[in-house]
């Protein structure tokens, strides 16, 4: 082990704090994986952070770029990373050497919130390696839930696999292919882990002799009236035509996991396949964190604030803690801060369930005075928020718990680009619009919906993708670069059907030039 490696273990005064905080966390009902804290100097921390928390990732320039950004921010005094925790069993968390003791305590509290979330939120189930990236049973697990999440090892294996490919095929081609795959990284299906897929096309299935038209039940003498022969014939032809149409279909239904489709059907060489599947696996690993940004940060912040203010802080800590906490919760430039939004929503839910402000009676109550004083003293708040942190993702969290009262109290608004004034401007505070916009941004983690529509487009083995246009156009120049990436993997022309300014548009790339026309496929 290199000499600095040994220094990462926690000094004893921090170990004592850790034990204390772990006890407090447990007493508040948190249920977490074993958590290992390591203490790193700022450049090591920046390094690890640049690698997304995994010190052993595959080599790639973008990690270097991230490192430069982080170290410059630190050196110019703009910002520093206080903490980082990775979803792994046992969980690994990093502390920054030289932070004040108050900060270290705060970070530890925050970390236990995250680790509890990693263990309990259902979305993270898809990172259980022993479940084969499938979550078919989302029931809550008990305390003894101990999945295999050795992502540290997994990432290290990816690293050495790619290093091996680099020494065999050269750095440039491998790195170039990684770039190609990265540009398609977001073409995955967030629901994929929850769907048990049957083999796509059943092999050698006997073709049923002919289509069968369902008949209505009728007595013999009524038969010709209830199921007239011409009608049956008409239906039969329709079904035949449909089947005929489906016959050539490949894939049978649109597939959102474009990467998986490419892995299965693109003519890839073995090394190319290895790289693509690594990129895909890692994309799925990071997916739950994207899906629960607000919830996860909110939960950790809610917990650190309870732990710090009620149990951990002594009088010498409290000002530093408050100062620091205020920095984390600040909404700068009126942008939404996920930490702040999350923690306030949890507190709101807790209050509502404590006071019984939910359910039909509450919803139907039109008496403002009664609503203001509504308190059934149910005390269900704690139970509710623990349930919420397990069973929701950002989309469902906002959809279910963002109320008009909350939006008003916290001054939420939508903003949009104003061409006239050349700036972003506040658009409206109307609750429906605010919620819609928020949900729209969270849906599919803010990525456009893109499906594989046809793997044998024009019957020439070309690839047709469809962008499910939901009100916002794609960024065209980037879409063209992505088509180039797709063509590189598919090795045949690729077409994307989308809409631009409300007109259908076909964009295609054949390996040499781009084409665009206003047409449907």
């Amino acid at each position: 082990m290199p000499p600095f490696g040994r220094k990462t273990s926690l000094p004893s005064y921090l170990r004592a704090e850790q034990e204390k905080i772990e006890g407090i966390a447990r007493s508040l009902g948190l249920d977490f994986f074993p958590t290992v804290f390591e203490i790193l100097s700022y450049d090591r921390l920046n390094e690890v952070a640049a690698y997304g928390g995994f010190p052993t990732r595959y080599p790639h320039w973008r990690f270097g770029m991230e490192y430069e950004r982080l170290s410059k921010s630190y050196e110019y005094g703009l910002s520093k990373i206080y903490e980082m925790v990775i979803n792994n069993n046992p969980s690994i968390a990093y502390l920054l050497e030289g932070n004040s003791l108050t900060d270290q305590k705060l970070v530890m509290c925050h970390v236990y919130g995250h680790v509890d979330f990693f263990k309990n939120n259902f979305a993270f189930r898809s990172t259980d390696l022993d479940a084969g990236a499938l979550v078919t049973d989302i029931a809550r697990r008990g305390e003894d839930y101990n999945p295999e999440r050795k992502w540290i090892d997994k990432m290290a294996n990816h690293g050495s696999a790619i290093r091996r490919l680099m020494s065999r095929h050269g750095v440039e081609p491998v790195e170039e292919l990684i770039d190609v795959c990265l540009s398609l990284e977001n073409l995955i299906d967030p629901y994929s882990p929850f769907i048990v897929r049957h083999a796509e096309e059943p092999v050698e299935e006997e073709e049923p002799s002919d289509v069968e038209v369902p008949r209505l039940r009728a007595k013999d003498y009524m038969e010709s009236f209830i199921n007239p022969a011409e009608y049956l014939e008409e239906q039969r032809n329709k079904l035949r035509a449909e089947r005929e149409k489906k016959k050539g279909k490949f894939p049978a239904s649109p597939r959102q996991d474009v990467l998986q489709f490419l892995l299965e059907h693109a003519p890839l060489e073995r090394w190319e396949r290895t790289i693509l599947s690594i990129i895909r696996e890692e994309a799925y690993y990071f997916l739950p964190q994207m899906q629960t940004k607000i919830m996860n940060e909110g939960w950790a912040s809610y917990m650190h604030s309870r732990m710090m203010t009620q149990h951990v802080c002594d009088w010498s800590d409290i000002i530093d803690y408050a100062d620091n906490n205020a920095g984390v919760m600040a909404t700068s430039g009126k942008r939404l801060n996920p930490y702040k939004l999350g923690v306030e929503l949890y507190r709101n839910i807790e209050e509502r369930w404590n006071k019984g402000r939910f359910g039909r009676d509450w919803d139907e109550c039109r008496d403002l005075e009664a609503k203001r004083n509504w308190d059934l003293r149910l005390g269900l708040g704690q139970e509710k928020i623990f349930e919420v942190r397990a069973l929701y993702t950002d989309v469902t969290f906002i959809d279910e718990f963002l109320t008009p009262e909350f939006a008003m109290e916290h001054g939420l608004f939508t903003f949009e680009w104003s061409d006239r004034n050349d700036r972003f401007e506040i658009q409206t505070r109307e609750f429906k619009k605010v919620k819609e916009k928020l949900l729209q941004q969270l849906t599919n983690s803010g990525n456009p919906f893109i499906f594989v529509e046809d793997g044998n487009y024009k019957n020439r083995g070309e690839l047709l993708l469809r962008h499910d246009h939901r009100g916002i156009d794609l960024r065209i120049d980037y879409a063209q670069r992505c088509l180039e990436s797709l063509t590189r993997l598919w090795k045949r022309p690729v077409t994307l059907a989308t809409k631009v300014e409300d007109k259908p548009m076909l964009m295609s790339y054949d390996g040499e030039k781009h084409q665009r026309e206003n047409a449907e496929p």
Binding site: F4, D43, E47, A50, Y51, G52, G53, H60, W61, R62, F63, G64, M65, Y67, R69, K72, Y76, G77, L78, S79, I81, V85, E175, E176, D179, S183, N186, F286, Q289, G327, T331, S332, G333, K334, R335, L336, N337, Y339, L341, G411, F413, T414, F415, E416, W417, E425, I426, Q427, K437, L438, Q441, G446, N447, P448, I472, D473, Y478, A479, R481, C482
Partner: protein, 369 residues
């Protein structure tokens, strides 16, 4: 201690510098280079390469915010501002960092970023300025410099010694030999004086974008040179077919039209130097920005004459920045290169667009002259 990331980092630097993976260079964004000078708020450029993905056009998108304000109010902050603390997420965001830094710090960062050498000023040892400093006490001097405390002490000492001091009625009357005066010494200090003479072509072909580029570039040049010299002056000359000296504000805002006679500006510059900035005492930096369209070859020859005989002999260097414009022919740069190709006092740079500003600053200041 070497880090594993160093390899990735140097690879990234190599991409940014254009040594490898040239196809990625098109995605590099440097962020905005300039901040608001008044509030000392400056954006620091950190090169960022974005891997293109299927994503939404950003302006159509908008978002949700939090805070006060009415419909129609602008919202502050950069897109993708991150709060100060946090997990290292997978967040994208625009990696433009806004910071409070003083202009001096900024100049240092610029220098570090572009690896600019410190400027060797040409005549430091020769340039002397005398400065008076009060360092001692004398027995004679003008009343206005009388040192009251010292004078009083002397008078007190004398009266006690003479036995005329009466503690009950402590009246001290100073006599002329009691008086003490502040004394000064003349300090001789070498100082560095520098003047930047900005010249800009404001003929019809220089559009707003071209002027903005000149503005940004001269801001950075100003910042850097100010860091290097204590006393620095800036003078501004604009020209179309005739040249005139203007103040800073006019310099950046004027839009004239008409033809271009560059020699008029060089003439004005040479006269200005002769009149106010004796070459023995001043480090002189003429900068000229144009789109490279001159009226005639004859005029260009006149320019070359003035440069050769009047401006270059007295200047530290002469910088010519050619901003690309849809109308300019860019001929002037070629002419300059032809006449001064080997002369390292003449630095020329072509500025294609905003992104080229960094490179151009390096061209200008990278020699440390």
């Amino acid at each position: 201690m070497s880090l594993k990331i160093d390899r990735d980092h140097s690879r990234f630097r190599a991409i940014v510098r254009g040594r490898i993976r040239k196809n990625l260079r098109q995605y590099i964004s440097h962020g905005e280079m300039i901040g608001r000078k008044g509030k000392d708020l400056v954006s620091i450029p950190i090169p960022h390469i974005e891997v293109p993905r299927f994503t939404f056009g950003s302006k159509q998108q908008g978002g949700v915010g939090q805070g006060d304000g009415q419909a129609g109010d602008p919202i502050g902050g950069q897109e993708g501002d991150e709060p100060g603390t946090g997990e290292a997420g997978q967040g994208e965001g625009q990696h433009i960092l806004e910071v409070d830094v003083t202009l001096d710090e900024l100049a240092d960062i610029l220098g570090e970023e572009l690896e600019l050498p410190d400027i060797e000023d040409k005549g430091k040892s020769k340039i002397i300025s005398a400065k008076d400093r009060y360092t001692g006490i004398r027995r004679v001097g003008p009343e206005s410099l009388r040192h009251f405390k010292r004078t009083y002490k002397e008078a007190l000492r004398r009266s006690i010694a003479a036995g005329v001091y009466n503690p009950r009625a402590p009246v001290i009357v100073p006599q002329s030999e009691d008086k003490r005066f502040r004394a000064w010494k003349e300090d001789q200090q070498p100082i560095a004086n520098a003047v930047i003479i900005y010249m800009m072509d404001v003929s019809g072909s220089m559009g707003d974008e071209q002027k903005e580029i000149v503005r940004i570039e001269s801001f950075w040049i100003d910042t850097w040179l100010r860091r290097q010299y204590d006393g620095i002056e800036s003078r501004y000359i604009i020209h179309d077919a005739v040249a005139r000296e203007v103040d800073r504000d006019t310099f950046f805002r004027t839009r004239e039209s008409g033809g271009t006679m560059i020699s008029s500006a060089y003439r004005a510059c040479a006269d200005l130097i002769q009149r106010e900035y004796p070459a023995e005492e001043w480090n002189i930096y003429p900068f000229h920005f144009s789109d490279g369209d001159n009226w005639s070859m004859d005029d260009t020859l006149t320019c070359v004459e003035i440069l050769k005989n009047e401006i270059l002999p007295v200047s530290n260097m002469f910088a010519y920045g050619q901003v690309e414009s849809p109308y300019g022919s860019g001929q002037f740069l070629k002419d300059l290169t032809e006449h001064f190709g080997g002369d390292e006092r003449v630095v020329t740079s072509e500025i294609a667009d905003r992104d080229a500003i960094m490179g151009s600053i390096k061209d200008f200041l990278g020699k440390g002259r």
